[in-house]
Amino acid sequence: MTTLHADAGRPPRLQRAIRTPDGEEFLRGLAGTRVRQNGCAAAAYAALYANVDVITAYPIRPYTAIMMNLAQFVADGILDAEYIHADGEHSQFSAAFGAASCGARAYTGSSGVGVTYGYELYSIISGARVPVQMAIADRTLDPPGDFGSEHTDALCTRDMGWLMGWAATPQEVFDKSLLAFAIGEDPRVLLPQMVVQDGYFVSHIAGEVDMPAAEQVDEFLPPYQLPFPLDPRRPVSHGPQIHPEQGPPLQLERARAMEDAIPVIREKTDEFARTFGRKYPHFVESYLLEDAELAIVISGGHAVTCRAAINRLRAQGIKIGMARLLWVRPFPSDDLREALQGVQAVGVVETNLGLGGASYGGILSADVTTALYHLPGSRPLVTSFMAGLGGETVPMAEFDWMAGKLGQAVERGHVEKAAHWVGFED
């Protein structure tokens, strides 16, 4: 005969999830060191520091190495987590969703067509307000079969209610993973997060990453506490059917959650700087924009090349700067407007494919243009550059070419076209 739960009303045994003795020792050894690792390792180390409870994996290049690292942590007894090798990405994300719905901190990830195979889950997880974290090392979608980096995979999920940010270095991958957990799990937000890094350019190229003390992470990232878990002590129903008239208020609530995340992102980014000593802009990295006439808007690892190209162009006397989007969702309209105030022409680097969209090029320029449309006074001209598709690099010479097109647009007083295919035009 079963009765009501014997532990009804009892708090968990511990306020904080325990680590294994080997894990404690491993992290003690790491604290304060600077290690060389690629973006995949950095993401895995962040999940280790976050002491995730459930990891759900399915192999696809290039993000796979994140899960390989985590599998080794579990095998070595450094991380006590359930490691689920799912039968596909749909199952992989569903399992993470199920674990997080019960109150476990869940970590998952994917790349390319893996991201799109599990598409059904994105709206469902954000609608359930369950803050799962997903690592994406981005990759082209098929066809053609291509391992290279392209932002299209992650960007086609951009409107599904997940916080989404791009990291440009392994250090940023590490930091953003912890930051995203803290933001997404904040009771004022409760949204899943995609921490995206460029496939290969970031995921497979080593950089230096500072390893914090476990106590610092524990202080910054309190234990995961879903306010309404599937817990027999306090029964709740998740995800019931609704009537049409109940749809609008629920959708409005989800839209507001995205807006409400904006101040929390600012707050947590500042708190992160206080805890770990690394200060990031809240949303937009402004590089030499103060006096700029021309600006490149970009996200992800190509920004590193872009900075170098801007330095060279500046040396030639061209007043150009760069605005890098650290978050794409929620889209930082205010911060971008502020960063681009006074700029005469803006070029959006589209490392993605938005077939048949407003610009007949990429995805981001529509967001950027909408944000800038509401600039008081004279608006800058906006065009976009299709570059870095299929995993191609965006070399300095291409940025020079883009600067030339932006300069011509300012001279003419209008842009030549909404989207330029870099390398296919004179």
Partner: protein, 363 residues
């Protein structure tokens, strides 16, 4: 150090002489139930149809599981009919999952509780974790996710409530729809007189053969004590368990609403749904031998979905039933063997007590 994960062991109900699928020499008329738990984690207040088989199954499964249970329900008729925003029939935590995620979401729940208990974030004991997926979810779109979950051996009970069609969307064929079962995707007509031409998938055997470390069983709503005991055995089994339960759908099958439980017995007595239990320790099947063996017409004629069957279709169904009898180690009586001959049959709607033809289009 990690905390120990303590697991429930639920006592079984007395089966002797009660409505259980046991080889009872006294026949099939002993319906009375033993003392059951009073609690109904699947409470009144849902919107299922009159005579709903899955609702009966839901009630027995959750009564057997008790309050310390977490339930998942993939999309299906039992999602739509049970959960209406701001109203719920569940007094235990319940979550909807995508239709293909019955196995995977439940894997996550099981993994979550394992980790949270070990790491001191949940006081335990490990709750009963149950998912109840329709046949469309378990045998079709979500079969991969359930197979994955059984293969990984999560400590949970995966139930398929099998009403042999996609009932929620208006009665479309699923892989468990029987041969000649009429659905809105397998209508009968001049070119295709039998309606559905394919024999059904043997879901439970796939699960047992493919995941031999799991407890796997089949049962029907005709044997409540058997259903509840198999639920408890599945939950007590440390690791994954799969329960395939036959649950008639009045709306999809077109029969008298009071006949749901009777169908749950007749389908077994006609040899169309063998009831068995697979023991993962012994790696053997234990088949229930019903005390009565009937011709398939005793089952087919009760349902409008079979009303279009011609003599040869009835004979084909009898062939299938006879092969089942042989497979479970029972003799095929002479009359049933003769039923393999179409000449022994007539059009089903000419049978004395058959239901009218169902030309309905569903929801």
């Amino acid at each position: 150090m990690a905390f120990e994960v303590i697991r429930h062991q639920l006592p079984l109900f007395e089966e002797e002489g009660r409505s259980a699928a046991t080889d009872d020499s006294r026949g099939r008329d002993l319906h009375y139930l033993p003392d059951l738990p009073e609690e109904d984690p699947y409470a009144a207040g849902h919107r299922t149809c009159a005579g709903c088989g899955p609702a009966i199954q839901y009630r027995w499964v959750l009564k057997a599981a008790g309050q310390d249970t977490v339930v998942a329900g993939p999309t299906g008729c039992m999602y739509v009919a049970n959960s209406t925003y701001l109203c719920t029939p569940y007094t235990v935590p319940w979550a909807h999952t995508p239709i293909a995620s019955g196995g995977s979401f439940t894997s996550g729940m099981a993994a979550g509780y394992e980790a949270m208990i070990r790491k001191g974030r949940y006081p335990g004991p490990y709750p009963n974790i149950v998912v109840m997926a329709g046949d469309g979810s378990a045998a079709d779109i979500g079969i991969g996710s359930i197979s994955g979950a059984l293969y990984r051996n999560h400590d949970a009970l995966f139930v398929c409530y099998d009403n042999e069609c996609y009932a929620n969307t208006g009665i479309q064929t699923s892989p468990t729809t029987p041969y000649a079962g009429m659905t809105t995707f397998t209508p009968f007509g001049k070119a295709i007189p039998e309606g559905k031409k394919l024999p059904p998938k043997n879901l439970a055997k796939m699960m047992a053969e493919g995941h031999p470390h799991c407890y796997v069983a089949t049962t029907t709503v005709g044997y409540p004590v058997d259903l509840m005991n198999k639920t408890r055995k599945g939950l007590n089994h440390v690791g994954a368990a799969f329960l395939h339960c036959y649950t008639p759908c009045q709306k999809g099958w077109v029969y008298q609403t009071s006949m749901t439980v009777e169908l749950g017995r007749r389908v077994v007595e006609c040899g169309l749904f063998p009831v068995w239990e697979y023991d993962p320790q012994e790696r053997t099947y234990h088949y229930f031998h019903p005390p009565v063996q009937r011709p398939v017409t005793d089952y087919l004629a009760m349902q409008g979905r079979f009303g279009h069957m011609l003599a040869e279709h009835v004979a084909t169904t009898q062939v299938g039933a006879n092969r089942h009898w042989e497979a479970i180690g029972m003799d095929v009586p002479k009359t049933l063997r003769e039923g393999e001959d179409p000449a022994r049959h007539q059009r089903l709607h000419d049978e004395e007590y058959s239901m009218p033809l169902n030309r309905g289009v569903g929801a």
